[in-house]
């Protein structure tokens, strides 16, 4: 029923991790490749330390900006539990790119809930096609752990049919001058490890 050509991507994480910038760059890269693009992001109360999700769809003709469950081609996550929380957005053969990061929700630090100890095992069960990277650690090694989102994007780019050139142009358009070099290197690193 869905248009098979339309690509759907879901990016998830925790407020403040840079999910929205990653979404903007991805959308821009699709635009640079000549596709129609629609995106959606979460604002307001949902952002205060809560889960954050951005959705991107591109293709020749895109109607809904929202991704239906079981249909995303790629799921990118900057936090492990968040990857699992939104796992059902991914189609069975879809690609999951998950960063090895755990951010404790306040429900865990207060003792009301526990963070799963076997999260890696759960990720491997949930995602038959899993790229599992420590984006934060890699970003620190590049000199700024905030670039984890761009490393993730680099890894995701392997699962999409957008030209490298489009991604680079998108980073130029979306990122401030002084962070461009860092982000281009972060992107290349992510693309290499995936």
């Amino acid at each position: 029923m869905m248009d098979n050509e339309t690509q759907s991507i879901v990016l998830v994480g925790v407020g403040g991790q840079g999910i929205l910038l990653a979404s903007e760059i991805l959308a821009q890269a699709a635009m640079q490749s000549g596709y129609e693009v629609k995106t959606n992001e979460v604002h307001g109360m949902a952002q205060r330390g809560g889960s954050v999700m951005a959705q991107i769809r591109y293709g020749r003709r895109v109607h809904s900006p929202l991704v239906a469950r079981n249909t995303a081609h790629v799921l990118g996550a900057l936090e492990q539990v968040e990857a699992l929380r939104y796992a059902d957005y991914l189609r069975p053969e879809g690609l999951a790119v998950v960063s090895r990061q755990s951010i404790m929700p306040v429900t865990v630090s207060s003792g009301a809930a526990t963070y799963p100890a076997n999260v890696e095992e759960m990720l491997r069960l949930a995602f038959p096609r899993l790229v599992y990277v420590d984006a934060t650690k890699l970003a620190s090694e590049l000199g700024d752990n905030r670039a984890a989102n761009i490393i993730l994007l680099g890894a995701i780019s392997r699962g999409l049919d957008l030209a490298l050139d489009s991604w680079q142009k998108a980073i130029h358009l979306c990122v401030r001058e002084k962070f461009q070099d860092l982000n281009l290197r972060a992107f290349a690193l992510g693309r290499d490890i995936a």
């Binding site: 992001e41 307001g44 109607h63 929380r85 929700p105 009301a112």
Partner: protein, 584 residues
């Protein structure tokens, strides 16, 4: 040239292109970014955050009467506040094009209710426009302004969370300034609705509605897309996009200029298909009208009217409509094992200490709308009611007058206080109340993304200006007990609260500390726990601070998150928490 714009950016762009010179509003998710983007076109446009939506509406109305094209922006509940000027502006009519841009929040992502603004268009007897994507957001805003000016009627552009916050491609155009001369033209029978003139106005509203209905019939914003004739779907707004994905073969009547309804077009469409299904988000606004036209249609029995629609929900609707079982869904794995991640007060939030301290007392806390609504959650759990903006103060007074045996404390934010808390405070002073009121003054409208307000000393245009002091308003009301505290100092917070609780007179506490997110710098040095000195008493758990991890056994402060507010240090009985050595 095409650009990728959010619906809100597109509305702002449309306003600029259409020659709008005055834009006003009050921040509210999902509408806030309209004005934040419109102000980027200064000096072509004057923009302001008004203290509330009623004021914003009236300022834009005044601008329109002077001949300027104007827009006013707000979220759905904001239109309740502005309903009074809305209903009568419909009577006195407008001069320069006037559009109220109102964003609904189906699914209540960031709102206290899920009301459907479309009802207001029918209520006020004015035209309604419903964009489905960013291009339409721009086009329909411009169309609404044009029709508003031509028919001298206010208009509503109704967006929703998914229209406002989705991005899609928009064709850019040039600005076309209005040719209308600015200058109010005195005309009391038109602008003064005292009964002798108001009654003719009342008739003119009905006559205008008839002419608008004729326009809606032939508007390009309402269109039929003929495909297979077995099923015809009548839809509007974002529901159109989802329905296109779910019923790609069906014929569509897409309503963009959706009130007054294009009755002849609806009849033509219904007559051309075997079955009619209405797919709309929230109220059965279209469906009821279609039925009132005597047309048999399906709708609410298949398409839910509560919470936002989605492709998934419409796939279920389709399955039920066709008598099939629901489509197979991959079961959500592990959902039981995943810890919830609710929104929380940020690390070093200045509100945390107030709620923590309130938690030590058996009081009733009537709360309000803002980041501090999060004080209702565990472990702080110190907000007992929320009604609407300003009610934190007025409801405290009402409970007290009812004889509530416990002390009642009203808690509101600074922007909320200016929005509609001042009148409540005046009421307490005037009517001999005894409530204690705490204004959480973090020097910004934080929840919606840090907008200025009358207390910040800065305008939306970026100019320095007069700043209203909350304590001065308390004094002007005649209050004799006013205390301004630093909420990062638990001792003085406790003392002020104890004083307020024992007071027989109204008591105003202004808790003043700027939002660290807005300041973009930590409050102090990050803290660390000396594990060997930790008693494991768990007192810090009561703070609900996201920077302290590890549960009660082995607490650890996440240096990346800690904003150095020192509340945990002040609470620690063992002195085991200190400034982290070596800093961040």
């Amino acid at each position: 040239m095409k650009r990728l714009l959010s619906g809100n950016e597109a509305i702002a762009r449309g306003a600029w292109e259409a020659g709008v010179t005055v834009g006003t509003g009050y921040p509210g998710t999902p509408s806030t970014e309209i004005l934040e983007n419109l102000v980027k076109y200064k000096p072509d446009v004057y923009c302001e955050w008004s203290p509330n939506e009623k004021v914003a509406f009236e300022v834009a109305a005044g601008a329109s009467l002077a001949g300027a094209r104007s827009i006013v922006t707000m979220k759905h509940v904001g239109l309740n506040v502005a309903a009074d000027p809305l209903m009568t502006l419909s009577y006195i009519s407008v001069e320069g094009g006037f559009v109220a841009c109102v964003a609904d929040d189906p699914g209540m992502h960031s709102s206290q209710n899920e009301q459907d603004t479309r009802n207001y268009a029918r209520f006020a007897k004015i035209p309604l426009f419903e964009p489905s994507d960013s291009q339409e957001a721009k086009d329909f805003l411009m169309l609404a302004l044009k029709i508003s000016e031509e028919f001298k009627t206010p208009a509503i552009l109704r967006s929703t969370t998914r229209v406002s916050h989705s991005r899609s491609l928009v064709e850019m155009g040039e600005r076309r300034p209005s040719e209308k001369k600015i200058g109010f033209e005195k005309d009391p029978p038109r602008f003064v609705p005292i009964p002798v003139w108001g009654r003719p106005m009342r008739q003119r509203v009905e006559d205008r509605l008839v002419r608008l209905q004729a326009l809606s019939e032939r508007s390009e914003a309402n269109r039929i897309e003929w495909r297979d004739r077995k099923l015809g779907i009548i839809t509007s707004s974002i529901a159109y996009q989802y329905a296109q994905e779910v019923w790609p073969e069906a014929s569509f009547l897409k309503l963009g200029f959706s009130y007054p309804f294009p009755d002849a077009l609806i009849r033509e469409f219904a007559g051309g298909v075997e079955r009619v299904l209405v797919v709309e988000e929230l109220d059965d606004f279209i469906e009821q009208h279609v039925k009132a036209l005597g047309i048999t249609c399906l709708g609410r029995e298949f398409v839910p009217g509560i919470m936002e629609l989605s492709i998934d929900r419409l796939l279920s609707s389709r399955a039920r409509l066709e008598g099939r079982s629901l489509p197979e869904q991959k079961a959500m794995q592990f959902s039981e094992q995943l810890p919830p991640r609710p929104p929380v007060l940020c690390p070093a939030c200045p509100h945390r200490g107030i709620f923590y301290t309130l938690g030590r007392h058996d009081v009733v806390v009537t709360g309000d709308i803002g980041c501090y609504s999060l004080g209702a959650f565990q472990p702080l759990d110190r907000m007992d009611s929320i009604l609407c903006m300003g009610a934190g103060i007025s409801m405290a007074h009402g409970m007290e007058k009812a004889g509530e045996p416990r002390k009642v404390i009203g808690v509101v934010g600074d922007s909320t206080f200016f929005h509609s808390g001042i009148t409540g405070l005046m009421d307490i002073a005037y009517n001999r109340g005894r409530s204690a009121i705490i204004v959480l003054d973090n020097r910004t409208t934080a929840m919606t993304g840090h907008q200025d307000h009358p207390g910040t000393g800065r305008t939306l245009m970026g100019e320095a200006t007069l700043a209203v002091a909350i304590e001065d308003i308390g004094r002007a009301c005649g209050l004799r007990h006013i205390s301004v505290i630093n909420p990062y100092d638990l001792e003085s917070t406790r003392a002020a609260l104890a004083d307020a609780l024992s007071s027989e007179e109204p008591y105003l506490i202004v808790s003043r500390a700027p939002c660290p997110l807005r300041e973009r710098k930590p409050v102090g040095q990050p803290r660390a726990i000396k594990t060997e000195e930790c008693l494991g008493c768990g007192k810090w758990l009561g703070l609900g601070c996201p920077a302290i991890e590890g549960g009660s056994e082995k607490p650890k402060i996440n240096v990346q998150l800690c904003g150095g507010c020192s509340l945990c240090e002040q609470l620690c009985p063992a002195g085991a928490i200190t400034v982290r050595e070596g800093g961040a």
